[in-house]
Amino acid sequence: MAPPELYALGQNPTAISSHAFNANRTEVAVSLNSNDATIWERQGHEWKQTETLAEHDKLITSIDWAPNSNRIVTCAQDRNAYVWQQSPDPQTGRMIWKPTLVLLRINRAATHVRWSPNEDKFAVASGARAIAICSFDPEGDWWVSRLLKKPIRSTVLSVDWHPNNVLLAAGSADMKARVFSAYIKDVDKRPGPCVWGDKFPFNTICAEYTSHAGGWVHSVGFSPSGDVLAFASHDSSVSIAYPGADSIVYTIKLTSLPLLTLAWTSENSLIAAGHDCQPLVFSGSHDGWELSGTLDDPNANKTGSGAARAGLGGASPVGRLNSAAFNTFRNADSRGISNVPGSSGPSAESELFTVHQNTITSVRAYEGAPGDVARVSTSGVDGKLVVWDVAQVSPISVTSNIVGRLAGVRI
């Protein structure tokens, strides 16, 4: 059993806003909670920073790396997106990343960006209650955008492309997950009918789902076939929607904190993670879905502090709350014992039982074809980048009471 590969980028861990690997996973583009994106190259087990993509003047919110055309797109709170392409430096002949500004025409921060499967378009979600669908205009030699606006009522938090390169799923803060058509006449061939509909003029709303108990929809994802939509929302639930005449939505309510990000690994399983700091595995089919486990084995000895974990784990029914930080406050409150911060080492002081030490904000497929993903990568607020083997699922009962339950089916 190979343990999850854990990488810390840089000396001082800084929150990773977003991460994206290149096609052969030898390089990764990340933004360390700053205006710059950095490119890191794998050297053995280490990652070494090779380049900085500096053009944005506000925090970068999302990065995506197109595997085949080898282009990077970044978007930021400065309401801009840049497409970065490698070209030789005229003086040295070395390959450098050149930015191209994209005219997004949005008046609020851009929040999320994803290349379409054919890499000829990308979608930028934004706080301007709109999604910019960008395509390349060879005549003007620039990227132009068309906006998906109706009927979005609030900030769009995430987007995901259907494999047919036309349909786009979006999750937003108006508590809805929607499926839009992002058909661009000059780019796309007319798509054939599928479970989401037959005709797809631009901005057709093919489906709209409401989160179970009114939470922001943080993340959306089409299944590998594109026939099923999953979304995670801030009411600590994940929903899997089957469209069509016999439309079914399965909602799994979690007993733990909300999920922020999800990725499908096969047609019958997906991995989601968030404020609970561990990647959870959900599996099911048209007949029902359930939480099947976690990738974060609570009994594994991690980063040499297994003893501390064992000493703390399992006692409290409230799981994650049973951290050293929680105990410090409880001791101070109920027993009047004050624990001077740093006296017994600040890192051991507030260590969680999980590999990630803070919220996971991004989970992405790392290895394997869509529909047969063998490994996934996660990054989060703790500045760690972790690669997990999706086959190593630990039963959930071991990790306190983080149990998902199948709620009622809404038809």
Partner: protein, 156 residues
């Protein structure tokens, strides 16, 4: 300084304004129906409690709890009914009772606990009773239940 401008309803000039009613599915029943349902449930609960069936009483009152606008009377009545159950339950039985509730009922109960805590001294709401239930409910349904009680706009 004249502060009356602060009272202007600026939302009426915003054509994109998001209305409260767009945030959740409204209750399909009409307010009079909701009130009579709540009254009926209060009676059912009294019978169940007389039989000593606390779990049944709680499940009954939490099912189809009134929410949304224009049903204040029914909401108050239902809260009173819930509080009467909470107050009459022995602390040692709480965990077993909340464990057998459906996940939806657990979420609704959490909403009532928070509503009760927001109304100190209302009726015979007692903070220590609510906190006792809150602890056991969190033990059974986790922090996710609290998150749902906070995000859900269908306020009880």
């Amino acid at each position: 300084m004249d502060g009356s401008f602060r009272k202007i309803d600026i939302d009426q000039y915003d054509e994109d304004v998001l209305l409260e009613s767009e945030l959740y599915e409204p209750d399909s029943r009409d307010p009079a129906q909701v009130l009579s349902d709540a009254k009926q449930k209060a009676a059912t609960v009294r019978q169940s409690l007389a039989r000593g069936d606390t779990a049944g009483a709680l499940a009954a009152v939490l099912d189809g709890a009134p929410y949304g606008p224009n049903v204040e009377e029914a909401k108050n009545l239902n809260l009173q009914t819930v509080v009467s159950i909470l107050n009459s339950t022995k602390a040692t039985e709480i965990l077993n009772i909340v464990r057998v509730l459906s996940p939806d009922a657990q979420d609704t109960l959490m909403k009532y606990l928070y509503k009760g805590m927001a109304l100190p001294g209302w009726g015979d709401v007692s903070g220590s009773v609510l906190l006792g239930w809150h602890e056991k409910l969190t033990e059974a349904a986790g922090t996710g239940c609290i998150v749902r009680a906070m995000t859900d706009r269908r306020l009880v």
